[in-house]
Symmetry: D2
Subunit: 366 residues, 4 copies
């Protein structure tokens, strides 16, 4: 990870500000011969794009992606793929009043302190709009994974909104696309709809926890001890706007487990090792086990709210600030495809890295 680039061999550099002419991703290291089309990428961008239902910002962006390089006759050539998304609904006047004040919970003040100046239009580079570029890059990663590891799937969903978690016994993957919250528990989704309606009326917002699962990941991915699969996943998820916690497998709850309970015992299956549980989230010693890779991350409540909060101006004056504009009551919702994209990028990156480092060695078992 280096400033605006992440990845070892599959390297994504994002660029662009919320209210500049465009934003995008320079994707370097996609293997050659992978089918990459605008249509396939657009599916993922549409999943993230604003204004799709009443629970996300009403900013209208088509988020239409263009492929400017690296693809010839429908397939990747191995050279950098430039993905560009033009900003069309910038309405920067909405944001004019924050030029002089720092919105609490936002990066306004830290960008000002770090750089000595900032693009105050809609948060500039610190806007969650940057994640559109990640989703586009994730689309390329998914295409490459589809070509290299048939059967691998990556699925994200919300498991908790506010203090209200799903009931794991009601988990139904088929429900995920059927409600505006990517929620696998239909009952919880109904409750959340009410919660968000209430919060909007009270000029408030709420946080969420997103879970992303990758199934079909080969054993052996991850590069100890500083490019472990979990370490890279933690960095990837924590780099998403508003994320404050990342868990692998049982996550923070492992503290309360004993060694006897936490052991993922192993039996021998027809095709190799079979684990009797997955507390480890599919990663041991920073290397994938072949089980589901399970990551969760917590997104804080949207900081832009219509309730006045105390803050200061650049001149050092104290004041109260309401952040007008078109904001998501729960930014966690649109973080779901972003988390999926980061998972796809990290898994692909480690697949390539492992191929380079070990040639896909793989000790025999049985």
């Amino acid at each position: 990870m280096s400033f605006n680039t992440f990845g070892h061999l599959f390297r994504v550099t994002t660029w662009g500000e919320s209210h500049g002419p465009a934003l995008g991703a320079t994707v370097d290291g996609c293997p050659p011969g992978v089918p990459v089309t605008v249509d396939a990428l657009q599916v993922w961008l549409d999943k993230r794009k604003p204004g799709q239902n009443k629970y996300t910002t009403q900013r209208r962006e088509d988020d239409a992606v263009r492929i400017l390089s690296g693809v010839f006759e429908g397939v990747s050539t191995g050279t950098p793929i430039q993905l560009m998304i033009e900003n069309t609904d910038q309405r920067s006047k909405d944001y004019g009043d924050i030029a002089a004040s720092f919105r609490p919970g936002h990066a306004d003040i830290t960008y000002h302190q770090k750089y000595g100046l900032r693009d105050y239009r809609g948060g500039g580079r610190s806007s969650a709009r940057e994640t559109a570029a990640r989703v586009a890059a994730g689309g390329v990663a998914r295409a490459a994974l589809a070509a290299l590891v048939p059967g691998l799937t990556i699925t994200g969903y919300i498991v908790q909104m506010g203090a209200d978690a799903i009931d794991r016994d009601r988990f139904d993957a088929g429900q995920i696309g059927e409600n505006p919250f990517w929620c696998p528990d239909a009952t919880a989704a109904s409750r959340w709809a009410e919660t968000l309606d209430d919060l909007r009326k009270s000029h408030n917002s709420v946080g969420a926890i997103i879970e992303v699962v990758a199934s079909g990941v080969p054993a052996g991915l991850g590069a100890p001890v500083y490019a472990k699969l979990d370490s890279d996943l933690a960095a990837a998820m924590m780099s998403i706007n508003a994320v404050k916690g990342v868990e692998i497998g049982d996550g923070m709850a492992v503290a309360a487990l004993t060694g006897v309970d936490n052991a993922d015992e192993i039996r021998m299956g027809n095709d190799g090792p079979l684990y009797l549980s997955n507390h480890a989230g599919g990663i041991l010693g920073g290397i994938s086990t072949g089980q589901d890779v399970v990551v969760r991350f917590a997104v804080k409540p949207t900081s832009s709210i219509l309730t006045p909060r105390r803050t200061i101006t650049m001149a050092g004056e104290e004041r109260e600030l309401i952040t007008k504009g078109r904001h998501d009551p729960c930014v966690g919702i649109r973080a779901v495809p972003v988390g999926e994209a980061m998972m796809a990028c990290v898994i692909l990156d480690h697949l390539l890295l492992d191929r380079g480092q070990t040639g896909g060695a793989r000790g025999q078992i049985g």
Copy 2:
């Protein structure tokens, strides 16, 4: 982060196995002119070294560090500092029975699968013994921070062992060094002593949550959007053996907060911005605010336990395994100085990086 190296400008490469002749860290990028002495480094290594009380492994290692390069007449020269720790108490016969079997919860099986072979002596490279090298490198980072940012402090402690958390109202920093658990709550420390005694008797182990706080960190550190301060901290902590979750500030609990509650409101103090709370853990948009930087991570229970667990052998045979040897009932205890070391390395790294990238720009406030 790249395999066995982490950091952008302060770059630490660790090397060595549990039962090889030695292990160590190659520390590149320490600024010149920093006083670096064996005595100062040894203080931190002694904090981590095994066998210090009955709650940590009884393996006897002096963990005596040698400085082989990069220091001349007591100060760093700006060239790589090689820190070497010889392994003296290897007793590899203790571990001989795990050559053919994979210990559940350990990286034995994934190293075998990834590399096609493995150094099975005590976990080889995947052993927590590797963290001794991190602590040595962290000592160099602390020395550099002391020279560059007077008053900056880094303090780690355990806030939860098993399901038993400290009472924040009893938090007393003065207690941290007064018990074997680096516990700031004397009452909790007493309870934990009992818990661990019981676990040992029942051949079991337990997890823990460690919190590390850096005070006096200047505002402006962190390099969005992929080398954010929190992203790098998450990677650093998740790379420590047995860690399954990382939190910044309120961490996973932010999901349950509303935007009104989560806002860290700002007032104007004599020396700059004053925050009325620190839900964000001192980081906004991936950049330090000047408040305390607060990180927590969860360590899973020691996987090496005397209770038999089901597993398989390299030959694919099913069996039950007891991991004999001299193991920590709670590896979280010795993870405290490791977490501190990682915090020191990351903060120093970002201090240098910020100096390079922005020259320490810093917008005026007031």
Copy 3:
């Protein structure tokens, strides 16, 4: 250097193919507050752009650069600067006949072998057209250098075309912009005009040697032992299309010198050390001395010529190939601004790196 990115803290990623919709550079790490304007960048692009005189390719490209991000109110913000140049005169039909054959001296065959497929239109990614993106990025580097190191200049020129070198006694910097060859020796420029006219008539081409000098570079830049200033300059220049040799100072000729002759003796001037000669090209031990940094590189003759050359097709058939199209008789001419751009990027990068690593330490002399 990592695939399509170069630089440590000033990181340039170029993207785009000769005949795709656009190409460009993602410039990450430009310090904040640097004036960056399209007009200033365009000056350098115009110096490189094709079709300016009869000695360069007649392909017509405006090479108009757009700034898509990272600049706000006329100055850099510290976030990635995206520079895009649209391809307007693609005429890909000119190149259609090379889809099946490998042009000798070109990368057609190696791209095919490496990637298994290739964008055959005009060389795709391997086209020298990629250097337009470098020149744009170099313009940003020059702007940052102007802000950070007043008085620093970077000047490139041709010192040899074919076997015909300039006479150093006739060196007149004022002549460089007065002829189509960036030649500092007016007499040589006249001879070269004749040479190129003759070569064109005989369907041939010729190589050249370019020298780039940076004056006013502070002492102390360069990061031994693997990011030495000369090592990074060598990589940068060798990465330019068609370059086969790089020299620092006396270059390959040092082999013939004795130690007595080669020593750059030092005297004490009013403002510090004064060197009596500059065989070292301003670099000792990989670190700048404060003297002129002098780099030379040799560019091979244009491989695309109208004289038939023997080659093979993808099907393995032998044939003779004439490369039609609009080619430079001496690609070395347009390599001059590219070499300048690479010098600017490397010097800026090391200025930032040194600031980060040492804080600009600098031992006193006298």
Copy 4:
């Protein structure tokens, strides 16, 4: 390349000073399963070690390498390999007089300026003694190449000493090991012996040009456009002490060629493309062609000579300096195994990188 580390997937970090307790290399990314033994590494170190004949420094160092990690039961495990060489004959008193003065042609003054202080004992980190660590690392690279690419060979030799070049018609590979100069032309070797005897008597030294050839390199290695094979080789060779120029294939002489002459024409052989010449040095567009990879570099004359040269002291006083000690009259001689080591590291690195990036794609021909 990053300070004291080079390589993408095969990453070598060297550490250590001329007169510290030890120096070495941390080698990360060696594929697992490669036989690595002290005996095999020692062969290469012995080739470089001082005091072997009257033409190299009489400093006595065994240069005995120890393997401290990363190798288990005689083969690499995929974890970092630590190679340590202790300094035994330090005699630092020989160098005491240079603590206050800057030796012309040495890095004394630039290290002082960059870092504000320096280890003045024998040049400290800037000493050519650092190259022993490179040779050790190169030995690991050679072992891995032997395992992965049977038949690949890497051979270095001197082609010019002072102004006196070998006669290519007398080139006899069998002669290379038969004289103290690694010279393939026996007649030239005799002349050089006389030259060096004379230079020693006159308290002088001389430069040299080394050529390194890798045969059997697969087509397809190199990662355009900034990790081209030639770009990485240029950086690698230029990073060696005293090197001032690097050439690939015809090198600087390409300037004098015409396009007709420079074209390496291609015919179809039984096993793929056959080239009729190798002006390109086995690299097109930064990617290997399958031909011999040919690199040359020029080493300046030893700066440490017994003839007094003018210089200044740290206090800014002017004086004349004789560099006493045990110096090589031509450091180029011992640069031969160093150049070979760098070639081995770069080739292996690109083999792994290509495997990761493209999976060894490789378009069919014929």
